[in-house]
C-alpha cells in the first residue's frame, strides 16, 4: 500500500485544470480541494461532525502549535491527532518552520535548523528537519510537509534567497531520511525560490528527482504583487509531475482559487474563511458581506439565498447582524457558511472540469465576482496564459 494514490479523473481541454481523487490512508479526497485550517486540533468552535456535513475531506493542523500544546507525548499516547480530536478523515500538517519564522522575531536559521526561544518557557529550541518530521510522525497526518528555509516573500537579497532555496533542497533529503512512517504519511517537498524564475525552476527540478507522492509550492501569498504571484504558480505547475498532486500553500481567496486551479493547482489551504468569520465577514459570490454594517440590521435575507448551509437555511442577515462579534454563536454560524462557500466553489470547479465546461465556469465566476466588470489585469493575464480570454458581458 502507498500512503498516497493520485488518480486524475479529468483534465480541462483548455486550461491546466484537473480533477482527481487523492487516496489517503484516512480518506479519499476529491481534488481540487480547499483545506480549512484547524490550527490547534480544532476548527474554530465547529464539531468534527459539522465539518463532515460540510463535506470537508481534509483539514490542516499546525505542527508548531501542536508540538507545544498538547505536545508530542500526549499525541503519541492518544494515538495521533486523528484520535485526539475525533476526526476520521484526512489531515495535513505543515512543518512548523513558517510559524517560527513569522511569529518569533528571534528565530535564527542555520544549516542545522531553525533556532528560537520558546514563547512558553523562554528556553532555546532548535527545530531541525529531523525534529520537524519526528513531531509530524507523532501527529500522524496523512500528508506532512518538509521543513523549508523560509524567507519573506518580498525579501530582495538574492544571495539569501538562493541560500534558502538550496538549503530547502538539502533539508528535504534530511526530512526524507528521517521519515519513519512512509507507508502511512507522505512528505511533500516545498518548491521555493520566491519570485526568482531560475531559482524556482531549479528548486522544482531538484524536487522532481525525489521519490515523493506530491509537491507543494511555498513562499508565495506573502504580500507580493499579484502580477508577480501568478507567473510563479504557472512556472511550478509547468514543471512538476502531472501525475502527482500540487499544493499551493496559504492561498484561499475565491478569485485566487479559481485562477490557480486554472493554472493546475490541486490543493489549497488558508485561514482566511474562518478568520474573517470572526469579524462578521461572510463570503458570497460577489465577494464579502460585512454583517456588522448597519444596512443588514433589518435585512431578512439569508447570507446567500442559494447557499444550502445550515446557517443560510435558518438565520437572517438581520439576526446575524445583531450578534456578530458579540456572541460565539455568530462566529460559529458564519464559519459554517464560509467553509460551505469554499467547499461549494471547489465542488463547482471539479464538476465543470469533469464536464469540460471549466472555461465557461471561470467566465461566469469572474462576472459575478466583479459585478462592475472591472477585471484586474492579473486576472485577465493569468487566465489568458492558460487559454481563457475573459470577455466583458
Amino acid at each position: 500500500p502507498k500512503a498516497l494514490l493520485f488518480h486524475l479523473n479529468a483534465e480541462c481541454n483548455t486550461t491546466r485544470a484537473r480533477a482527481g481523487i487523492m487516496k489517503l490512508p484516512h480518506y479519499d479526497v476529491k481534488t481540487p480541494v480547499f483545506m480549512p485550517v484547524g490550527t490547534q486540533g480544532t476548527m474554530k468552535g465547529l464539531l468534527p461532525d459539522q465539518l463532515e456535513s460540510l463535506d470537508c475531506e481534509i483539514i490542516l493542523g499546525n505542527t508548531y502549535h501542536l508540538g507545544n500544546r498538547p505536545g508530542t507525548e500526549v499525541l503519541r499516547k492518544a494515538g495521533g491527532l486523528h484520535n485526539f480530536m475525533g476526526w476520521n478523515r484526512a489531515l495535513l500538517t505543515d512543518s512548523g518552520g513558517f510559524q517560527m519564522v513569522s511569529l518569533l522575531k528571534l528565530a535564527e536559521i542555520t544549516e542545522e535548523g531553525v533556532k528560537f526561544r520558546s514563547p512558553y518557557d523562554d528556553s532555546e529550541i532548535m527545530l531541525t528537519p529531523e525534529k520537524s518530521i519526528e513531531i509530524q510522525n507523532c501527529i500522524g497526518a496523512d500528508i506532512i510537509m518538509q521543513l523549508d528555509d523560509v524567507v519573506q516573500t518580498t525579501f530582495q537579497d538574492y544571495d539569501r534567497i538562493k541560500e534558502a532555496t538550496e538549503r530547502t533542497s538539502r533539508w528535504l533529503d534530511r526530512c526524507l531520511s528521517a521519515h519513519n512512517r512512509p507507508l502511512e504519511q507522505s512528505i511533500f517537498p516545498i518548491v521555493q525560490g520566491l519570485l526568482d524564475k531560475e531559482l524556482r525552476e531549479k528548486s522544482a527540478r531538484d524536487h522532481l528527482t525525489k521519490d515523493v507522492n506530491g509537491f507543494a509550492i511555498g513562499g508565495l501569498s506573502g504580500g507580493e504583487a499579484k502580477d508577480d504571484f501568478w507567473p510563479m504558480v504557472r512556472l511550478g505547475t509547468g514543471i512538476l509531475d502531472k501525475n502527482k498532486p500540487r499544493y499551493l500553500m496559504g492561498v484561499g481567496l475565491a478569485i485566487d482559487l479559481v485562477v490557480c486551479v486554472a493554472l493546475g493547482i490541486d490543493m489549497f489551504d488558508c485561514v482566511f474563511p474562518t478568520r474573517t468569520a470572526r469579524f462578521g465577514c461572510a463570503l458570497v459570490p460577489k465577494g464579502q458581506l460585512n454583517l456588522k454594517q448597519k444596512q443588514y440590521q433589518t435585512d431578512l435575507n439569508p447570507i446567500d439565498e442559494n447557499c444550502p448551509c445550515s446557517t443560510c437555511k435558518t438565520y437572517t442577515r438581520a439576526y446575524l447582524h445583531s450578534i456578530v462579534t458579540v456572541e460565539t454563536v455568530a462566529c460559529h454560524l458564519i464559519s459554517i457558511h464560509n467553509i460551505a462557500y469554499q467547499m461549494q466553489l471547489m465542488r463547482s470547479m471539479r464538476e465543470n472540469i469533469e464536464n469540460q465546461t471549466f472555461p465557461q465556469f471561470v467566465q461566469e465566476f469572474v462576472n459575478a465576482y466583479y459585478p462592475d466588470a472591472n477585471y484586474p489585469d492579473w486576472v485577465i493575464n493569468s487566465l489568458s496564459s492558460v487559454g481563457i480570454n475573459i470577455v466583458k458581458p
Partner: protein
C-alpha cells in the same frame, strides 16, 4: 399556556406539564425542569444545528432582555417573534428583564423605571416600554418587570422601594397584558421580591395573588444581585425561604426560581414545590471549564468529584470521556484530555463541548428528579445528590480547596481569540 400538575407526593414536590403554547402548539415541557440560558437569543455557545443534536424535543429557553435588547430592530422588521428570529422555532421562550446571575453596576433608579444593562449601555425601562418590547419579542412567557436586583443583605429601605416599585410595575404590566391581543398569546408571570424580609415578601405575594387570574405563574427573584457575596448570603437561608414562600402560594400556580443555583439548592427548591429554573448554572460551569458529573445511581457511591475542573493538569492524558456512560455527543466522541487541551489553548470548541455535556447532564438531573418524584423516592434522590455536592464543596485533606468559588456567572463570553498565527493568509 396551560400548567398541569400530574402528580404530587406527600411532600410539596410535584411533576407537571406545560402545554398549550400558542406559538409552539406541539411543545410539551415537563416539570421540574431547567430552561436553556440564552444570550442574544441563542443558547450560549450553541447554534440551532448543534442544539438539535443535543435535544430532539422542544425546550424552554430563558431569554434575558439585557443581553438580547439589541435584537429589537431586527425583530420589528421580521415581526415573528424571538424564537423564529433566533433560529429556534418550535422552542418555548421565556423573557425576563435581567439575568439574575449577572453582576451589574448599581444603577440609579428613577420613579417608575429600572435600569437595564444592555450591550449598548444602560437603558431606563418602564413597565410600558417593557411591555412594548414584549409585543415585539413575542415570547411564550413574560416575567413582569420588577425591581429585583437586590441581595439578602440589602437595607430595609431599599427593600421597601423594591416592593413598591415591583407592585407598581405589575399593575401596569397586567393592564397592558389585558389590553393587548398580541400579548395575550403569551403568559404573564408575577415576580416575588424581598424574599429576605418576610413581612414585605408576604405583602408582595398578596399583591401578586390579586392578579392571579391574569397570571400564568410566579417567579421568585430578589435573592441575589449576582455577586459572590450575595450568593454566599443566600446559601444558608435559602431552604428556609423556599419553605416559607411555599406555604404562601396556591399549589396550582407554576413556580419559577431565578438565579444560578447548584444541584443541592435546586433540589430543595423542587422539594418546596418549585417547577422551573433559569439554566444559568450549567452555563456558569461551562464558562469556567467545569463539567458536571453527578452520579444518578442511588445504589452506587462514586468517589469521583461531581464537578470536574477540566483546566486541571491532571486531565492532560486522561483519554476517558467526561463521564463514563454519558450519552451526550461530547462524551460519545471526545475525551477529558481533548477538552483540557481546548481550554488550555483557549479554543472556542471547549465551551461548545462543555455546554453540550453540561446541558445534557443537567437535563438528565431533572429527568431523574421527575422520575423519583413519580416513584415517591425523591427524598433519597435529594440525599444522594446533596451528599455528592457537599463532598465536592469540602476542602480536600491536603488543604487544597477543590471548589474554586467561582460563583458568579462570568460576563458575557470569553473574548473571541484571534490566534497569532493567523496572518498566514493575505
Amino acid at each position: 399556556m396551560r400548567f398541569t400538575i400530574k402528580q404530587a407526593t406527600s411532600g410539596s414536590e410535584r411533576i407537571g406539564t406545560f402545554t398549550g403554547f400558542i406559538k409552539s402548539p406541539g411543545a410539551v415541557i415537563e416539570t421540574p425542569t431547567s430552561a436553556l440560558f440564552t444570550q442574544g437569543g441563542s443558547v450560549t455557545h450553541i447554534t440551532s444545528e448543534v442544539l438539535s443534536k443535543i435535544f430532539t424535543t422542544p425546550k424552554l429557553l430563558w431569554v434575558p432582555l439585557s443581553n438580547s435588547y439589541q435584537l429589537e430592530t431586527g425583530l420589528k422588521a421580521q415581526g415573528q417573534g424571538i424564537a423564529k428570529f433566533a433560529g429556534l422555532s418550535g422552542h418555548v421562550t421565556s423573557i425576563t428583564p435581567h439575568s439574575a446571575s449577572e453582576v451589574t453596576p448599581v444603577g440609579h433608579f428613577e420613579h417608575g423605571k429600572v435600569p437595564l444593562w444592555t450591550k449598548n449601555g444602560k437603558k431606563m425601562i418602564t413597565a410600558d416600554s417593557y411591555m412594548d418590547l414584549m409585543e415585539v419579542f413575542q415570547p411564550d412567557i413574560i416575567l413582569a418587570i420588577a425591581d429585583s436586583r437586590t441581595s439578602l443583605g440589602e437595607g430595609y429601605k431599599r427593600i421597601l422601594k423594591s416592593v413598591d416599585r415591583t407592585c407598581g410595575f405589575l399593575e401596569k404590566c397586567v393592564d397592558r397584558y389585558k389590553g393587548s391581543k398580541t400579548l395575550q398569546t403569551s403568559s404573564l408571570i408575577g415576580v416575588i421580591v424581598a424574599a429576605g424580609v418576610p413581612s414585605k415578601c408576604d405583602e408582595c405575594i398578596t399583591h401578586i395573588l390579586k392578579y392571579k387570574d391574569s397570571l400564568g405563574g410566579v417567579a421568585l427573584a430578589g435573592l441575589t444581585d449576582g455577586t459572590e457575596e450575595s450568593l454566599k448570603l443566600v446559601n444558608d437561608k435559602i431552604e428556609g425561604i423556599f419553605a416559607r414562600v411555599n406555604t404562601k402560594l396556591p399549589k396550582n400556580l407554576l413556580r419559577i426560581v431565578e438565579g444560578c443555583w447548584n444541584p443541592a439548592v435546586v433540589l430543595s427548591a423542587i422539594e418546596n414545590g418549585f417547577d422551573v429554573f433559569d439554566g444559568s448554572y450549567p452555563l456558569k460551569l461551562s464558562n469556567v471549564g467545569h463539567a458536571l458529573a453527578l452520579n444518578f445511581d442511588l445504589n452506587q457511591n462514586d468517589s469521583e468529584p461531581c464537578i470536574l475542573d477540566l483546566n486541571d493538569e491532571r486531565y492532560k492524558e486522561d483519554f476517558r470521556p467526561v463521564l463514563a456512560g454519558c450519552e451526550c455527543l461530547a462524551c460519545k466522541k471526545h475525551t477529558r484530555a481533548y477538552i483540557r487541551h481546548l481550554l488550555n489553548t483557549r479554543e472556542m470548541l471547549s465551551s461548545v463541548l462543555l455546554s453540550i455535556h453540561n446541558l445534557h447532564h443537567f437535563d438528565q438531573f431533572f429527568k431523574h428528579a421527575r422520575h423519583h418524584i413519580a416513584s415517591n423516592t425523591f427524598k433519597l434522590y435529594k440525599q444522594h445528590i446533596t451528599k455528592q455536592y457537599e463532598a465536592y464543596k469540602q476542602p480536600l485533606t491536603n488543604g487544597v480547596n477543590e471548589h474554586k468559588g467561582k460563583t458568579a456567572l462570568p460576563q458575557v463570553t470569553k473574548k473571541l481569540k484571534v490566534s497569532d498565527e493567523e496572518m498566514h493568509c493575505s
